[in-house]
Structure formats: C-alpha cells, structure tokens
Symmetry: C2
C-alpha cells in the first residue's frame, strides 16, 4: 500500500482473512468478518454455505498471536466446522490436530485439512443465520450510507 494512501494498513490477520474469504467465495460460501456470536466473543471469519452450514475460521499471523488466544474453545459451539488459517511460514505443529487447517495469504487460500463436523442444533443454526444476516446488512449499510447511524 503506498504511503500516501488514506486507508489504514490492514493487520496481518486481516490480510489472511481476506484471502480466506476469497477462497470460500469460490467454494460457494459467503463470509463476514468480526461477527460477535455472544458478548465477549468475536470471530475473525464466519462463513455461511448454501445449506446454512456455518464455519468459523480464526486467522493467526504468528506463533505469539496463536499462543495468546485463550478463547478459541468457546468458538466451537457456534459453528459446524472450526478452522485455523495461517500463512505458509506458521509452525502448524502448534495447532490442535482436531481442527481444520487453511493456509492463506492476502490473495487466496487453500484448505489443507477439513475440519470435523459437529452439527449445530436447529434452533442455534436459525439464530446464527439471522445474526449473520444482520451483521452483514449493518456493515453494508454502514459502508453505503455512512450517515445512517448518525443522522
């Protein structure tokens, strides 16, 4: 990004998220970033598939970033499948083998290990699809009409 760009530089984890979202789009899944499933939790990427399946992908840019995450177990109950996304330099032996694994950069990604499936209960899936819809629509309105929340 040129130094005179008005936009703040994205953090490394956000660049991984961008590549993850691009790849998931090619798989037919739509995505949002930074959704809050409940107070105190914020997922890096949540993906919604054509059968309303829900994936959560946490993006880790470094060993320190992963080691300082004490919350990831709490994300499991909000999705059908849980993945880590890291770059090709990341020491993947650190990651729990029972999670999915995605190798990503800012431009694309690839699923190296599919996550096991633990299906959401229908009532929770319904809630999550609605949360996803509300989150996406609010962020979209915020970008299309920055005056919407302040008029």
């Amino acid at each position: 990004m040129p130094e005179d760009s008005p936009s703040p530089s994205p953090r490394p984890g956000q660049l991984l998220a961008r590549g993850v979202c691009r790849h998931l789009l090619h798989l037919g899944m739509v995505t949002v970033e930074e959704l809050v499933p409940r107070s105190g939790l914020r997922v890096d990427v949540m993906a919604l598939g054509r059968s309303n399946e829900i994936w959560v992908i946490e993006c880790k840019s470094s060993r320190a970033d992963f080691m300082s995450d004490g919350k990831w177990h709490n994300y499991l109950e909000w999705c059908d499948r849980y993945f880590w996304a890291v770059d090709s330099e990341f020491p993947t032996d650190l990651l729990p083998p029972e999670s999915g694994l995605i190798i990503a950069d800012a431009y694309d990604a690839e699923i190296l290990r599919m996550a096991p499936e633990t299906k959401l209960a229908p009532a929770r899936r319904k809630v999550m699809v609605q949360k996803f819809a509300r989150h996406a629509a609010l962020r979209l309105q915020g970008l299309r009409d920055p005056g919407a929340t302040s008029f």
Copy 2:
C-alpha cells in the same frame, strides 16, 4: 453532488431507498437493496426484523415510475408486509389502499400506513432469510474487497 465527484449520482428512487433504510434501522430492522427473490424480480428494499419478519418496500419517485410497474403484485408472495415509499409530492391516491405507505426523502422516512400482514410459510421464510444473508454478505465483500470476484 459536485460535478467532479467520481461517483454516479443516485437515481431518485435510490435516494428514497436510502431514507427508508435509515428509518427502518431506527425501528431495529436491517435492510438490503436490489435483492432478487427469483429470476426476473428485483425488490428495491428488503427489510429483516428481529423475529425474521420480512418486508418489501418499492420506492416510486414519480407517477410515471409507478404506472410503468407491472410487476408489483409478484412481490407480495415474498414478504410478510408490502409497502410503497414515495416522496411528499407523490399523488398517493394512485396507490393501492391495501398496501403499506411510507413517505420518504433521502434522509429519513415515516410509515403513514402500516401494511397488512400476510405471513410467509416457514419454509419460504427460511429461504428468504438465507437469500438476505447471502445478498448482504456478497455486496459487503464486493465493497470491502473489489478484487474478490476477479482474482
């Protein structure tokens, strides 16, 4: 909008839609524009409420705009409530009295007549919430990452 602005000027109906979406946000509903419920149909505004209720709002900027719309009956089956949104100069006697009525400008709106409710069947509601979620997320990704669909 200044002449040197790079953005195209929004059409009158889009300005009404913006005011409608702002008002619905204050009612706790999230919105998207130009959603396609099925091939050949495109609604101006679709709103999603906290109980997954779905409203459709068609924005008419002039008498001619309304008179040339031969499709509006087809929208009724995709929502719980159907509204027209027009500006304060519009001859509202033209509008079918069994629909809801919203008076709008580019900055806000007000519901003058609540639309009658015809509840969607649960299976269709589920489909529509998913369509809403996918539409919102795809548009959001398109704005956040214009390269997502072309890399």
